[in-house]
Symmetry: C2
Subunit: 338 residues, 2 copies
């Protein structure tokens, strides 16, 4: 049997800068790497108008018209239900039918999460699909899982998150024997809320992960763990606190460099070094956040994505498919049944 | 009736640097301000040996012997139960009996939390005492409440935390009409886990607070709210993430300033400005974290406290008592019954 090329669906209408940046990113991705083709879903006319700006390999792009767009402000479940001809619904249904391998969107996070569950559907044995976000640390990237999908989680879900996160870090991020920690408010085993206390022994007993115990939020930036298991509420709080603190602190540091001529000269002298250091802390260099455990890959990129982030997210999908990460996740749960 | 002077009990044996730093901080506090006296609880001999190093107002210090010390590693509830002659137990019982107004400890957080509930006891009407921590923001300090005491919280507790936190920020931190937000993972009212969703309408209906809705963790450092209401698990995660990100980032920024002669000169030029900016972000300048809603004030300071932090925490207790904050909290719940 001849295998078809990897097919990645891009929500051409998703995000603050669509379709200008989505199409630019799509063309850039196609030019950068071979071995895959793209399906652009959205308003055909708008997509064609953007594509007209570029030279690109025409045989690797398909346009799939979708008349509607789900807006950021819409209630996700209602939008998925009512806008059957939206780019997210049409694109996700392609994944479900096996017409494509991966779906990328910079559109409504809620709609992507709901659509992933309802339209793409879970792999057999997966209780809930978690959103896996990369957070930069002193030692490279760590994966916070779940960081947005399941707010009131159960212990058994968290164990699955740990296992899926381990596969992701091992096979996508190439971290050997990833250290798995559970997000907690103390290092001791008896610490935590009831969810953490119930989950801890289950993780300890889980034979296919490298569980290292509790991770306090303060140890995350230092790179204490590679996979940080948590419910989506705490995970999202930690992630956003990270972003907020980093951006405020850098603003404050920069501000203090602008207070006098002396400090301005100082700032000039350290500017390049600071910039190149900060580059290591840019998680968007690896793409968006995958929603793991579905019948195909679904990736959510930042709503503010420019062409660069779109390009990287598409190439992230390519690697994800080439490394057959979804098959490996599938195998985890097939083995459970055996 | 003649009122007695404000009496503050210091756990002389609590923290990594006790009793050296605790006694030094105690003496410094007494010298800095009048109008209160101190009770030093702990091993009399050790306390006397430290006191011998200083000149101090002898009529304002009393030593209360306690033979035992609760160590950081001990299980809190068992330690409070078994070590009846420990500095924490002896000190807290003085508060309960009305022999003193406030208790400060840099010792085991768990023991202070458990002891506060069991030995000092809750004010009438208070369901659970929350730990209130200050977090630095661009616009001053904000109060994260609860940041350590009640991990599996209920909606009605969170409403009480909001009201107590408002009194604390208004009367201790002098913030007029403090803006109260609930820690959440999105700005919309339908966002959040079940605890947040159930609490949101209760806060909205609460007439004695200035509720502004949800606060995302990323908006905390910018100073979006003065009181951030949360269960202790999420609150502690947010707080620790803040600390961890700030310390890692400053380390990284400093590191990038040391990469070449050029950047080192740059660093010298901005050093003073950076230092004075960072000073504004030092929450320890205001003291430790009070456990609110008890029959007297209990303050937990960092285990690593030096004399300076001990001194500030003692003076914090003085202000707290002078401003009659505990009476104001008491009034909140007396009014509920009426």
């Amino acid at each position: 049997m001849e295998e078809r090329r990897i097919r990645i669906v891009l929500d051409a209408m998703g995000g603050d800068n669509a379709p200008v940046s989505t199409i630019e990113g799509a063309v850039d991705a196609l030019k950068e790497k071979d071995g895959f083709e793209l399906v652009l879903v959205g308003r055909e006319e708008a997509i064609k108008a953007e594509l007209a700006k570029y030279d690109y390999p025409k045989d690797r792009i398909e346009i799939r018209h979708a008349e509607e767009v789900i807006e950021m402000c819409e209630a996700p479940a209602a939008a998925i239900h009512n806008k059957k001809d939206s780019s997210i619904v049409v694109g996700m249904k392609m994944i479900r039918k096996g017409e494509a391998d991966a779906f990328v969107s910079a559109g409504s996070t809620g709609a992507v999460l709901v659509g992933g569950q309802i339209l793409v559907g879970r792999l057999k044995g997966v209780e809930r699909p978690p959103l896996a976000c990369l957070v930069p640390t002193e030692k490279g990237m760590a994966c916070m899982i779940d960081c947005g999908a399941n707010v009131d989680a159960r212990p058994s879900w968290l164990v699955q998150f740990a296992r899926m996160g381990s596969v992701y870090m091992k096979d996508f991020m190439k971290v050997e024997n990833p250290r798995v920690g559970i997000l907690n408010i103390g290092a001791e085993e008896e610490k935590g809320n009831s969810l953490v206390k119930e989950t801890f022994p289950l993780l300890k007993a889980c034979s296919d992960i490298n569980f290292i115990g509790s991770v306090e939020a303060r140890d995350i930036p230092g790179g204490y763990a590679d996979v940080i298991v948590t419910d989506a509420f705490s995970g999202n709080v930690a992630l956003k606190m990270y972003e907020g603190t980093a951006s405020t602190l850098l603003k404050v540091v920069k501000g203090s460099m602008m207070t006098s001529l002396k400090t301005k000269i100082g700032a000039l002298l350290i500017k390049d070094a600071l910039k190149s250091t900060m580059k290591k802390y840019d998680a968007t260099a690896y793409g968006g956040a995958p929603l793991l455990g579905l019948n195909g890959l679904v990736v959510k990129t930042h709503g503010s994505s420019k062409a660069k982030e779109i390009r990287i997210s598409i190439l992230q999908c390519l690697t994800f498919c080439e490394e057959r990460i979804n098959d490996k996740i599938k195998d985890l749960f097939v083995a459970d049944k055996a």
